[in-house]
Amino acid sequence: MDTELPQEEKIKRIEQIKLQLMEKHKDETVRYTGCSINCGGSGCILKVRLKDGKITAIEPDDRYHRNVGREDAVATDDELQKNKLQQRHCPFAWGWRRHLYSPNRVLYPLMRAPGSKRGEGKFIRISWDEALTIIAEKMKECKEKYGPYSIITPYIDNPMLDPLFGWFEAGVQGWGWCSQDAERLAEHLMTGYPGWTYAPSFDMADVLFNSKLIVLWGLDLTTTRIGPAHQFAWYVKMAREKKGTPVICIDPRFSDTAAVLADQWIPIKPGTDMAMLLAIAYIVIKEDLYDKEFVERFVEPKGFKKWADYILGVSDGVPKTPEWAEKICAVPAETIRDFTYLYAKSKPTFLYKNWSVARKSRGENSARAAAALQAIMGYWGKGGYSGFGPRSRNAPYIRPWFPMRIPLGLMPRKYYPPRMYRSNKWAQAVLLLDKVKSGELSTEEYRRIIGWRADPNLPNPNPKMLFGGGPQAQTVNTLVTGTNATLHQIEAMNRLEMVVWFATHMTPTAMYADIILPVQDQTFECPTFANNDYGGFSHNTFCPGVVKAPGEAKPFMWIYTKLAEKLGFGRRYNTYYTTDENWDKDWLRYLGAYYNRFRDTMKRWELDLPEWEEFLKQECPSINLDEYFDEPCHGYVNELELGLPFPTKSGKIEICSEILEKEEERGKLHFDARGLVIDVLPNDWRDLTPIPTYQPAVRGMEDPLVAKYPLMLLSSHGRYRSHSTGWDNPWLRGDVYRHALWINVADAKVRGIKDGDIVRVYSDVGEVRVPAYVTTRIMPGVVVLRHGAWIELDEKGVDHGGCPNMLLFDDKSPQTPAHATGLVQVEKVEG
């Protein structure tokens, strides 16, 4: 055949093809919003295309370098430093539209169908008034019948509930934000700054322009929250490519970071990082490679000496030499030495020990040791250092889901909900009460296990009602994300008289609720702010609410306000509220007040930000703070540059905690030098040591339990979910990724497993079935099952979704970090 189409015909056909393609996005309008998913970095700017009140497509930010793909080929150093760059979003956010319009959305208030069991998923639609009345009546009944400590919250304390419980004068919360609690504790104990402040800041420009060596310790920044969307990976790549900055990745996984961003990969046994950190400290102290002048000026001397004595073996007879460490962490002594010399001469080194490293039993140690090591090297406050984690500009954020910061209403003074348990231990707080009642468990031991952090004179809780969900995505799917055995949590729910849940989507956790309240999506459906927090740059972007919410979904704060109204103190809880019809206007007034407070703070920095009304008129209302500064930011400017004392008792960096040294402090509530409660330190810190030491991890690679469960499980975050949000997005799971168990090829071979085989993964608290990803990319003896998979339980209680939470449990360690690791066994499922 092989004929040609007449030229004219061909041109006509091509025009037709073009027109057909262009038809899809005709007559659309465009609005900008910030992505407010709780990835930890977040705040990416989304350009939303709309037609007929629906989102038709999302495009990336185009405020800078419009139409340029390779931005660094055109960006100036000034633009790189001031973050005048596109805030490109991550793969999860590319799937936003499918997520928003998912058939899985909860549209109406629901009540568990009479006669059905929790978890069966049978619900009937009720009105908002009915739902709120049922909840309010039950709260009153619980308070009256069972006392003020009968209403509890799960995983992560909910700041919207504090004033509500406060005015109601009943209700208990847990403590802990899970993600970086070990670092928050380290920061509070060592510097006196509560671990949610922004003193130890750095930004990515600092790393690009000033770091002489980049060490990514346990950090896969191409996948986790500070990953693709947040420039972190890109900046590391630019540092390596344009500045020649060497990059070392220390990780049991040959992660994408190890493969793409690092010059060299050093595998380390998970949970033993502390041994290597101590050996590095041993060399720098023994060989006088540390910064004596810095230590003299800024580090509390007695604590430093205690730590040095421990490291050198003066106090315990065991010098923490590289030869000592290699047997524990499996990094050869020679490598540790070489690493240390490179580290010590690279001034400063950006040593970023990821939060994941401390998300293990006794992870408090590595969080403190990494920061202490950076301190004695004098790297704190220098360009490109890292202390406790990336936090950009030492500036506040506009966070309407933390209404405590800028009160939405009057603040109750009589009652503050006590923190009676580590938030992820809420199920144990419920279940272990039986043993306390039977005398099998003492109250002291009960409180030790659940991580009591409250007045020791209060009685134990008497949980009857669980108030779940809110104010952010990760908190609404506790059975999946709660870093504690799923089956224990289900059992605990079943002990309670009522479970209330807030949900945008029908999650497995919502399925166990008695009442489900539908909430609006915070990126697209109701006005709020998105911030870039841990991404290394600082900005606040307004999310105007670009589409109407489906069904009867309501904003979180409307729900709390209306519930407060039912309980008789609505106007006190929310002083901005006038009428339902005026909700949007009232809420905007509140956001304006929040913005103005932020603007006032910035005035103290001599920054003149636009007025609220002017701000809202911008095409893309967003404050990029880095634009206002000519230098990258460094941490602890007040102390290290201006000479003010650290807010610790000694005024210096304290490597040794005085509280942890004193046995008489055990069991009490703990306060810092300024009288603020240390919110991540339970009354009883169990065997946490005053200085950071090596303590073998419970359920780590040296635990006798390996006889039965020989593989160490890591539940790292993936890139396609923010916690569990996005699991049900068909553009993601099954399309661009498979949710599978990473297992080393040697471990697979001896078990007769090949890639794609379904395997059973089990611990002493649960079992999951997933396909195996057989790979050389993880060291033997270690497996990874990504965090946030939704449970799909069969009648035997086996999970076919592949949720690592099914397998996690630890009742022996100190409680600050929520442990995201454990020990498991893996077998091939035959047939």
């Binding site: 092989d2 189409l5 007449p6 056909r13 091509i14 093809i17 393609l21 262009m22 899809k24 996005h25 038709t56 497509a57 990336p60 185009d62 139409n67 793909g69 390779r70 080929a73 793969p91 590319w94 799937g95 191409t222 996948t223 693709p228 969307a229 990976a233 490519e241 994408d256 493969a259 793409v260 690092a262 010059d263 990969w265 050093i266 047997k327 524990i328 499996a330 050869p332 490598t335 070489d338 690493f339 073998p696 040296e702 006798p704 390996v706 890139r719 553009w731 399309d735 661009v736 990724y737 599978a740 090829v745 040697a746 697979a748 001896v750 497993i753 057989v774 060291m779 033997p780 003896g781």
Partner: protein, 260 residues
């Protein structure tokens, strides 16, 4: 004739799939095999020299598009055209008709990159592929994939300009030779690893095998045979090679998905 093309920087690609999802978002493509942008990940080597490759690959709108030649053998005048303004290779959905012309996916067979995709394994499915975002180009917007990459690994522009800026490399490890089809693409290869500090892999593996000094005696070793780590059975490893031209939908989905 002008020829626009793409830059793909393999030294930056982390295999995150943002580009492929961005493409599906813009064209509102359903979940499944209609991936105009495919992202592959494959591993080679063994501890300690593991090699991981990523490839985000669309249609390269070749200067010598063999798909067009093949198509014309079955369809009078052909159902694929090379347009003149950008050099885009476009499939005409109205003229593509595999049942009528019994072409047996000749275009797909001819393309060395496997860049043509089908909605299912049904032999009646029409061929589809990357359009170069010609609808966006006509509105002065760059292709969506190029704007989606967090690592800024992609660029689009006149091919000769891209060559001037980013070099003339047109072949990467495991990819076909560019000679036959003259693809409108330039590549940047992976950055070589640098050994900054000594690392004795044999000793490390020896240490790794032991449970550690704090473990009680008698516990099982961490793993049994060192050879299984250093010389692993390749056939049980997932995505142990690049399969640019999968046999069917199932294979395509397997090779174009990662494990998070």
């Amino acid at each position: 004739m002008p020829q626009y093309g793409f830059l793909f920087d393999q030294s930056r690609c982390t295999g995150c799939h943002a580009c492929s999802i961005a493409c599906k978002e813009w064209y509102d493509l359903p979940p499944g095999p209609l991936k105009y942008m495919r992202v592959f990940e494959w591993e080679k080597g063994a501890f300690p020299d593991i090699k991981l490759f990523h490839l985000a690959i669309n249609c390269y709108h070749c200067e010598n598009p063999v798909c067009i030649d093949e198509c014309k053998k079955y369809v009078p005048g052909g159902a694929i055209y090379k347009e003149d303004k950008y050099g885009a290779v476009l499939i005409d959905p109205e003229r593509c008709n595999p049942i009528k012309y019994q072409c047996k996916r000749a275009c797909y067979e001819a393309c060395p990159y496997g860049s043509i995709v089908f909605a299912s394994d049904d032999p009646g499915e029409k061929a589809q592929k990357c359009t170069m975002c010609i609808d966006r180009l006509e509105q002065n917007l760059a292709p969506i994939c190029v704007l989606s990459c967090s690592l800024r690994a992609l660029e689009f522009g006149p091919l000769d300009e891209l060559k001037k800026k980013f070099g003339t490399l047109q072949q990467l490890e495991d990819l076909p030779s560019p000679e036959q089809t003259k693809p409108a693409v330039v590549f940047i290869p992976p950055t070589p690893k640098r050994q900054l500090i000594k690392y004795d892999a044999e000793k490390a593996l020896e240490l790794w095998q032991q449970r550690g000094p704090y473990a009680p005696p008698g516990l099982p070793k961490v793993f049994e045979r060192k050879e299984d780590v250093t010389n692993p059975p390749r056939e049980i490893i997932g995505r142990n090679r690049l399969v640019l031209k999968p046999k069917n939908v199932q294979e395509l989905m397997y090779y174009t998905a990662n494990d998070e």
